[in-house]
């Protein structure tokens, strides 16, 4: 049988695990590249397409973004060395935007924010998953490492802007339609206001985004270091 997760006390992933991860990361690189390709088609199409950008990318985005939920389990089961909580927050915010906003709220995908976030997410994810695939294969292609730890400087704020714009658009729409909102009276004496919920999610970006952003800068310093010392090919 294939070499299962090693008997060493250190978390060493066996051949089966590595194959799975390589396939997962490879599929994600392919998926996000496809989404980027669809975007390219949309922006360069002449005349302008009938369908909106959202309608064009929607299916692929749902598949490949929601698949990222698996990454939380990869972290929990030690298949990767990432922190499970951090991964959970990152994936949760993405899933919230895709499911809770873009799919969930009719009209939210008309927001200009969609363009920002699609651009940021596709470029980031293509680089990120390529970087992980590299790691599994044991190769280090410096340009990819450099991109992984540099592009975020612009892409993170761009993506967050897009997400916040979409969240805001959704909150306004929900405020009018009262979607997913429970009022008094009811036998469990509970209420839920989806508009307030969306606003609270937006407010959470205030403490959480700087933390994640600064964390990446810290990682950049560690990995890219002074520059010259880390150059490898």
């Amino acid at each position: 049988m294939a070499n299962k997760t090693a008997s060493k006390s250190k978390k060493e992933v066996g051949f089966l695990g590595k194959t799975y991860l390589l396939a997962y990361n490879g599929a994600q690189v392919a998926g996000w590249s496809y989404i980027l390709y669809l975007m390219g088609q949309y922006y360069t199409a002449d005349p302008k397409p009938q369908q909106s950008l959202w309608e064009i990318v929607r299916t692929a985005l749902i598949i490949f973004q929601n698949a990222a939920v698996l990454e939380v389990f990869h972290a929990i089961f030690g298949l990767v060395s990432s922190n499970a909580m951090v991964t959970l927050f990152q994936v949760a915010s993405r899933v919230m935007v895709v499911c809770g906003v873009l799919i969930g709220v009719e009209g939210a995908s008309d927001s200009q924010g969609l363009h920002f976030l699609l651009f940021a997410w596709t470029v980031t994810e293509i680089i990120r998953y390529s970087f992980y695939a590299m790691g599994i294969l044991g190769v280090s292609i410096y340009p990819i490492v450099w991109c992984r730890y540099t592009f975020f400087i612009a892409l993170y704020p761009i993506g967050v802007t897009g997400e916040l714009l979409c969240l805001w658009a959704a909150s306004q729409l929900v405020g009018a339609s009262k979607q997913w909102t429970l009022t008094f009276p009811n036998s469990w004496n509970a209420t839920f206001n989806y508009q307030y919920f969306l606003v609270i999610v937006m407010a959470l970006y205030v403490p959480l985004f700087p933390q994640m952003y600064l964390h990446m800068f810290g990682q950049r310093k560690k990995v890219l270091g002074g520059g010259a010392s880390k150059k490898k090919n």
Binding site: P185, S187, W188, N189
Partner: protein, 302 residues
């Protein structure tokens, strides 16, 4: 003798302390450091033998750690500190005021005219229970609890008060709402009874724990049941005060049949379980004769 003090961040050398004797206590070391750097009052200091080691007790002489002249110890700056009592008083006074404020049904939460709507018996009883609970907590903070540490990090004041005050607003908004729907009288009164039992139980445990520790000391003993029957729960769990506390909130939830109150009960249970497991492990480590069969917080379960 001399001892070198290094920082826990990067093992940077900070001070050299001189004129020490084997009988010099950790407290006296902290005082010396405080004289050298005014910002580092003793409560802010954690002295360890290793960067990630446990804090050395103030009362211990340096001879008990085998420290000779030239030895190195580590200092961690715990950050600005605030007294435990201060934090407890702030975090418990808030819920008392916030809940009763919602009880008056301010128009900016409930709209005009809400205050003149009838108030159900259940809502009144709930307000009484909530107030009694937090008044009891304030009383215990001043007269019952004996704290092992005198301070905690300043940031905790903000964090703890946010938790208590915001959750109070969340629960209070629902129970005091003009359209709040009470459960049956039977459910309400049975739950009220259970709430009372839980409150008495929790108080009994707090008093028992206080009597376990002589005043002015930080002695630690295995808690055992006393003549008070409520303390019998010690036979089943290490932290029956947390068990009774959850009992109070579960009863309050059943009494009001209010989902937000249930969420509050679960949040508290989660945090108390984490604490109980920690304390349970510490007891077992400290006392080789610690009673087997005791769980941390929920009898027979956790």
């Amino acid at each position: 003798m001399e001892i070198e003090v290094l920082s826990t961040s990067g093992s940077k050398p900070l001070f050299t302390l001189t004129g020490l004797a084997p009988s010099t206590t950790i407290k006296e070391i902290k005082d010396q450091i405080y004289r050298k750097k005014k910002a580092l009052y003793p409560e802010r200091q954690s002295i360890r033998l290793e960067v990630k080691g446990s804090s050395l007790k103030d009362s211990e002489p340096i001879s008990s750690f085998g420290l000779k002249s030239g030895a190195k110890i580590f200092l961690k700056d715990l950050g600005p500190q605030i007294g435990w009592k201060t934090v407890f008083l702030a975090e418990y006074a808030g819920p008392l005021f916030v809940y009763l404020w919602f009880y008056t049904r301010p128009w900016y939460f409930y709209g005009e005219g809400a205050a003149s709507q009838p108030i159900s018996q259940c809502t009144k009883i709930a307000a009484l229970c909530w107030s009694v609970h937090y008044a009891k907590r304030l009383f215990e903070t001043v007269f019952v609890h004996r704290f092992s540490h005198s301070t905690m990090p300043m940031f905790n004041l903000f964090k703890n008060c946010s938790y208590y005050w915001l959750f109070t607003a969340y629960v209070a908004y629902h129970v005091n709402h003009p359209l709040f729907t009470p459960p049956s009288d039977t459910q309400m009164y049975v739950s009220l009874g259970l709430f009372g039992v839980s409150q008495l139980g929790n108080l009994s445990i707090h008093v028992a724990l206080r009597n376990l520790r002589p005043p002015g000391t930080t002695v630690r003993k295995i808690p055992m049941p006393t003549s008070n029957p409520f303390t019998g729960l010690f036979n089943l769990v290490s932290c029956p005060n947390y068990t009774y506390e959850f009992g109070s909130w579960a009863s309050f939830t059943a009494m009001t049949q209010c989902l937000p109150a249930g969420l509050f009960a679960l949040a508290g249970l989660y945090q108390m379980t984490v604490w109980a497991i920690g304390k349970h492990k510490l007891y077992k480590k400290e006392f080789s004769n610690y009673p087997k069969g005791r769980k941390a917080i929920l009898p027979l379960l956790i």
